[in-house]
């Protein structure tokens, strides 16, 4: 079980309460597909991913980004039991979606950058450290049921 200090919990919730899940999720997923183009391999059904403009405007990317970040919110609601929260999703990503867990780490790093751009000076080093820890824990939980 991951240990979160009171300060870390506060840094997570204070940022999360101000996040627009739809916008932030869309941005994070779009940037993942643009910065690490090989990640597009999982989204051949999404239509036009031919340019950064196409990716940013793609409604399927936006919708999926929102879905992914909404799920992230579940982890935040269950900080003391993230592994259990993601059991089914982990199995899904392994058995059905066949996603290399490295992609979870890449998305986590991108999310931190998107938050930094949005919150600027409020995204203090302590904040960054906490959120980097959180995305790492989520990535680990999503990979946990892989076999």
């Amino acid at each position: 079980m991951v240990h979160w200090t009171a300060e870390e919990k506060q840094l997570i919730s204070s940022i999360w309460s101000k996040v627009n899940v739809e916008e932030c999720g869309a941005e994070a997923l779009a940037r993942l597909l643009i910065v690490y183009p090989w990640t597009q391999r999982f989204f051949s059904s999404f239509g036009n991913l031919s340019s950064p403009t196409a990716i940013c405007g793609n409604p399927k990317v936006r919708a999926h980004g929102k879905k992914v970040l909404t799920s992230f919110g579940e982890a935040i609601k269950n900080l003391d039991n993230i592994k259990a929260t993601y059991t089914k999703l982990s199995e899904l990503h392994c058995e059905k979606l066949h996603v290399d867990p490295e992609n979870f780490r890449l998305l986590g790093d991108i999310l931190v950058i998107v938050l930094a751009a949005h919150f600027t000076k409020d995204f203090t080093p302590a904040c960054q450290a906490t959120w980097q820890k959180l995305v790492g824990v989520v990535a680990h939980a999503l990979a946990y049921k892989y076999h």
């Binding site: 910065v35 950058i113 995204f123 960054q128």
Partner: protein
């Protein structure tokens, strides 16, 4: 991984925007790296790690200087950073994984101070550039 003409333009562009604040960016990058990835402090056991540390400031300036040097010779990063590459291989021997951590923190600093300029395209180019620098610095490791 190769830097396209667009990548080079994007990287030069963002560094032009950073301008004279590069040293501060270097310092902040290190501060954030030490806070976020405490294992990176193991390479600096002799450092005063408190906020405002003169040593971190000086080292941040060095790191920024090296990045600027790479930008100014973006067609031949290996040539421009050859001596630094030797240093990292023979003396410093910083594990290669740490260059990605430094790169992540630099991107965060740029995002904080230049959010509007860090478009997805520039983000991609800058990430590639930082990877290229890391690759050059570890190229002679073995």
């Amino acid at each position: 991984m190769v830097l396209s003409a667009n990548d080079k333009t994007n990287v030069k562009g963002i560094f032009a925007k950073i301008g004279g604040q590069a040293d501060d960016y270097g310092t902040e990058t290190l501060e954030r790296m030490f806070a976020t990835y405490p294992q990176t402090k193991t390479y600096f056991p002799h450092f005063d790690m408190s906020r405002g540390s003169g040593q971190i400031k000086a080292h941040g300036k060095k790191v920024a200087g090296a990045l600027i040097e790479a930008v100014n010779h973006i067609d031949d990063i290996a040539g421009a950073l050859s001596k630094l590459s030797d240093l990292h291989a023979q003396k410093l021997r910083v594990d290669p994984v740490n260059f990605k951590l430094l790169g992540q923190c630099f991107l965060v600093v740029v995002a904080i101070h230049n959010a509007a300029a860090l478009t997805p395209e520039v983000h991609a180019s800058l990430d590639k550039f930082l990877c290229a620098v890391g690759n050059v610095l570890t190229a002679k490791y073995r």
